[in-house]
Symmetry: C2
Subunit: 307 residues, 2 copies
């Protein structure tokens, strides 16, 4: 029988997100990716073990680097020779990009000493680890660079824009926009993104070796999403807060390569529809009393300052 | 009594390089940085555990990433609270730079999936790990970005330009230049660089927090060094070979910050003098029969290619 082992330390994941799956092939193990051990050698490993929300990774940067890189180093030992290793990388490998849209060949503009660097750099370095493992040992590597995924089953206290706005709209009604809200993002609804992942990770014949942008290439500013939610949920209003250090100004995937590698796939769900469906899910959760307070990161702007 | 523990797995280091030091405070431990354990908590840790020569790190990229990042993650556990952690980063964090000279604020141009990435990205990510540890736990971090260090006690089979040319000049006489040799480098003689390190790592009052370029800012092309050695050692000749993939075209430190943080320090040894002194040392070594063959990296140019 085929066997699927889900490993999660539940740092940011929620056990209840698997509650609807009843399948004898599925085993859940509560463990850190960097310490999980097994007597099995796996045909395929999908490494998604990392927080993805800035307040979470900025509060525990060492643990974030350890999850991504320590996780990949450990899990590589559990892969069969020539097995397949898939990894969720991120549009943050492009940093605050100087070209738009961003093709996979763009080398990025990341401050490797900055307050977002634990996430950005550990994703970059894990990409390196896996492509270099491919080059030297012949493993099959599938790396996706994901652009701002959102949707149902996000933690209400996740801390990223859509979930923040929805949690706030459903509680005190004050939507916090950092800076002037003009920063552009490409909002990918979870169903669209998961469809792309399953097509890419499980496609057997593939000549392309390299990272693949996955996302919705319609770029919408943060303030536009806030205004849309303001209209959707009566009684909400927008509050402007100081900008977050090194928040990227823009972010939009060049999907040329994606359309070649995954012909027929498109991100079909508009942000208007996606946000509305996510709102329904959040209404239930927040109604049931879920926490909506994301952790506060520790900022120290001295790091970015000159002498 | 103060105690100095040197940890080295002798992957690229040589035990004999410490043979001239007789000091009861010094202990040598043969171990991997990522697995070294101790009952002590250290006041100060200096993490230099990584190969620095492309043929060595390209042949064992996973081990290179593990040495840098696994090393730093492990060693952080052995540091006293608020202790000092120093780290040898590299000019390779700038990749193939689009600005010259390179200031510390330049975010670099590194292909995180390329054949040099195990070194470049693990240095970048270790910088992130340490500055983020500073931000969240208050440890004192000293990171230097070193530009092409050379000199006596380099392995004759190290594989970088100066040691390659000298090993070749003293054996078969054929100096291999990759590409047309026009790539510019900043050659820092080891005594100059070590002087800068000791001044930076052991300076107690310091307000600057951030990475520091250390090097010689006189940029000299590879072919000029080869021609100089051709003249120094009678009977040698230059042989041109295909370029190495993603070999940076230029490399020169902006030392503005360095001159503020380390007033009075300069790289005083010219490449002409430094190469001559290194030649003397190599003459003894090669005369004693040291191996001069660097490992061959595994190249697979598919990685850099589009669909």
């Amino acid at each position: 029988m085929e066997k699927l082992v889900v490993v999660d330390n539940l740092w940011t994941g929620l056990r209840e997100n698997l509650a609807h799956i009843q399948d004898p092939r599925l085993t859940f193990v509560e463990a850190d990716a960097e310490r999980f051990s097994s007597d099995f050698q796996f045909d395929e490993i999908i490494h998604f073990a990392s927080p993805a929300s800035p307040p979470w990774y900025m509060r525990e940067p060492v643990r974030t680097i350890s999850a991504n890189l320590g996780g990949a180093l450990n899990l590589l030992n559990l892969l069969k020779p020539k097995g397949r290793f898939s990894f969720a990388s991120t549009s943050e490998v492009y940093g605050d990009p100087l070209v738009s849209p961003q093709p996979e060949s763009y080398r990025g503009s990341v401050d490797c000493t900055g307050p977002r660097s634990s996430y950005d750099e550990s994703k970059r370095c894990t990409e390196s680890l896996l492509f270099e493992s491919h080059r030297t040992t012949g493993i099959d590597v599938r790396i996706v660079r994901l652009f701002n995924v959102y949707g149902p089953r996000t933690r209400p206290d996740d801390g990223r824009a859509v979930s923040n706005f929805l949690s706030q709209a459903l509680t005190h009604g004050e939507l916090t926009v950092y800076g002037d809200g003009s920063q552009g993002r490409s909002w990918g609804y979870v169903d669209d993104i998961v469809e792309a992942l399953s097509r890419y990770f499980w496609r057997d014949e593939l000549t392309y070796v390299g990272p693949l942008n996955i996302g919705n290439d319609r770029e919408i500013s943060v303030i536009d999403v806030a205004r849309y939610i303001e209209k959707l949920v009566p009684g909400t209003r927008i509050k402007f807060c100081p900008p977050v250090p090194q928040d990227p100004t823009n972010r939009r995937p060049d999907l040329t390569l994606c359309r070649k590698v995954l012909p027929g796939w498109e991100a079909n769900v508009s942000y208007e529809d996606g946000v509305r469906m996510t709102l329904e899910w959040f209404r239930d959760k927040v109604g049931q009393g879920a926490s909506t307070d994301a952790p506060s990161p520790v900022f120290d702007t001295r790091l970015a300052a000159p002498v």
